[in-house]
């Protein structure tokens, strides 16, 4: 029985896959604050032109430079595991596979884009990257990448996270990054906030402002900003996960995948795993592709409550560009994109098209799945990854009920060794699920009933 399927360095994919080239309903160009399309020059103060070109590219395949591959070889290709112990435990006829992205030095999928971004910035002549981070998964990935590539790195870490996640901070410092608590005294944005609220615990919004200000105000033009999710080029760099998985599944003797599963926060790890399979689905394969999120704070499976306040705020999901007047109806993709705001536009459009079928789960089921996974496969996964494992277990049980030999692939996007608080609470019996307040949900949906529905750009094929 083959448990791990590995690829040699020579077998690593040499190109990234760009779903934007194949989407049946193409993305509209992003609009600036004035309602006009954003030009590359508008982004140039924070991103190098080589990455901006990738952000707007419609090319299906983009070559991975040798310099990037040489760094990725440190941990890539990542192994594809057959979760045989989990299968046996569940007694399922399904064959379960997972990509183990936890083997990267910082322990997650994030370095796939961090390394690429650092490398392109260096090529462009940039000397330092800035970014923001919460718990530090992204910050530590960028710190690692900058260290290997040879760039300076400044991470603005939200104050509350800075205080609560000291080990991530130490990881960043070990890789040579300058990690400061945000708000800081180092930017005008930070100083202004501290003057008004000296004890503020900070926020991602403030940290982003600081990171961008540092890049923009470098008079030598040697500093740029880096983002770890949502943007097209970030998703592009992550597709190496799914591309490797396809080769490995073939090597493992699987001709067809039935279900692909990934957890989706900003969308990058899900997209990285799923997009190469979305391509197959577009071209006729029957694959169920499932992005998973928690029932608490969903972005894909339920309209955000913010829409309830549409009237009060004088804008609705359909009228986000209020500066253009209330008669302005945004292009369809923006309606779709906003519906799933916080989610990558490419993933949003995949949902609108019906290519992706998002699912939301309660936290207890996710932690239960994570514990089962740890006790069968041995890996303690990151909290987000537990969502993908929980749906995998649901689908494996369904296959058992149906007596079908399905092939299931999911992305083990990172280990959870730095994030054990949730496990601690679960094991102490302190986590609770809450029944969905259906009445509340219905009331909320009624609130947006009267609003005009977005005109969705979709082919209706899926």
């Amino acid at each position: 029985m083959r448990i791990k399927t590995v690829l040699s360095e020579s077998e690593i994919p040499k190109q990234w896959y760009n779903l934007a080239a194949d989407l049946p309903s193409p993305l509209q160009p992003p609009l600036g604050p004035d309602g006009n399309p954003i030009s590359p020059e508008m982004l140039a103060p924070v991103f190098p032109m080589n990455l901006i070109e990738q952000e707007v590219s419609q090319e299906r395949w983009i070559d991975i430079p040798e310099g990037i591959l040489n760094i990725l070889y440190k941990w890539r290709p990542t192994p594809l595991h057959r979760a045989k112990a989990l299968e046996d435990y569940l007694g399922t006829p399904a064959r379960i596979y997972y990509k183990n992205e936890g083997v990267s030095p910082p322990g997650s999928h994030k370095p796939n884009t961090a390394v690429a971004q650092a490398w392109y910035n260096k090529e462009f002549g940039i000397k330092k990257l800035t970014t923001e981070t919460g718990a530090g998964q992204w910050g530590s990935a960028l710190a690692f990448a900058c260290s290997i590539v040879g760039l300076g790195c400044k991470v603005y870490m939200v104050r509350i996270s800075f205080d609560q996640k000291p080990y991530r901070k130490t990881m960043m410092q070990t890789w040579g990054a300058n990690c400061v608590a945000s708000p800081s005294e180092e930017t005008k944005a930070g100083r202004d906030i501290l003057e008004k609220m000296p004890d503020t615990p900070g926020s991602l919004g403030i940290a982003i402002s600081e990171a961008i200000e540092e890049a923009v105000s470098d008079t030598k033009g040697e500093t740029r900003y880096s983002l770890g999710s949502v943007l097209n080029h970030v998703l592009l760099h992550q597709t190496i996960i799914g591309l490797e998985a396809k080769k490995q599944l073939e090597k493992a003797g699987e001709n067809k995948v039935d279900i692909v599963i990934g957890c989706a926060g900003g969308g990058s790890n899900f997209a990285g795993t799923a997009f190469p399979f979305v391509n197959d689905k577009i071209h006729g394969e029957e694959i169920e592709i499932i992005p998973v999120e928690p029932t608490s704070c969903p972005t894909m499976t339920r309209a955000p409550f913010a829409y309830d306040h549409g009237d009060t705020a004088k804008m609705t999901p359909l009228l986000p560009m209020h500066s253009l007047g209330h008669d302005f109806i945004p292009p369809p993709i923006h309606a779709g994109g906003l519906r799933y705001h916080g989610m990558a536009p490419l993933v949003s459009q995949g949902i609108v098209e019906g290519l992706l079928t998002p699912r939301a789960l309660h936290q207890l089921e996710c932690y239960e799945a994570a514990i089962t996974f740890a006790r069968t496969e041995g890996i303690i996964c990151a909290p987000e990854t537990s969502h993908a494992i929980a749906v995998t277990i649901q689908e494996a049980k369904k296959a058992k009920e149906e007596g079908k030999e399905k092939v299931i692939l999911f992305n083990m996007s990172g280990h959870g060794l730095m994030d054990l608080t949730g496990y601690q609470s679960y094991l102490a019996g302190k986590l609770q699920d809450y029944p969905l307040p259906e009445e509340e949900m219905q009331k909320s949906l009624k609130g947006i009933e009267g609003l005009p529905k977005p005109k969705e750009a979709k082919t209706g094929k899926w």
């Binding site: 992003p30 600036g32 604050p33 954003i38 508008m42 982004l43 103060p45 924070v46 952000e55 919460g134 939200v158 509350i160 996270s161 609560q164 996640k165 930017t187 005008k188 944005a189 906030i193 609220m197 503020t200 615990p201 926020s203 991602l204 402002s209 961008i212 200000e213 890049a215 923009v216 105000s217 983002l227 949502v230 943007l231 926060g265 029932t295 608490s296 704070c297 955000p304 409550f305 913010a306 829409y307 549409g310 009060t312 705020a313 609705t316 986000p320 923006h334 994109g337 906003l338 705001h341 536009p345 909290p383 987000e384 994030d419 949730g422 609470s425 809450y434 029944p435 307040p437 509340e440």
Partner: protein, 87 residues
């Protein structure tokens, strides 16, 4: 106002556990824009907001978010203005 301050939740944006105390102040002293999405299952959050915040504050908290690239361009413009003002 502070009756729920010690309730805990996993914050999807920051990636770790924190208390309601943070959620109700995250947005320059006002609640995080995701407060209803995150807490609707656990607390009477609508009632809490109605009782503790003015209508214009609620409008501000829940203004519909712009796409990421649009907000980055806005932040670049704001940063340029701040840099120009700095002596």
């Amino acid at each position: 106002m502070n009756q729920y301050d010690n309730e805990r939740i996993y914050c999807r944006r920051l990636g770790h556990w924190l208390t309601f105390n943070y959620c109700r102040q995250e947005n320059s002293g006002l609640p995080c824009r995701k407060i209803e999405d995150c807490w609707f299952e656990k607390l009477p959050i609508k009632k809490f907001l109605k009782e503790n915040y003015k209508e214009e504050e609620i409008s501000y908290i829940f203004k519909v978010q712009k796409p990421k690239l649009t907000s980055i361009v806005e932040l670049i413009e704001q940063a340029k203005k701040r840099s120009n003002k700095t002596p």
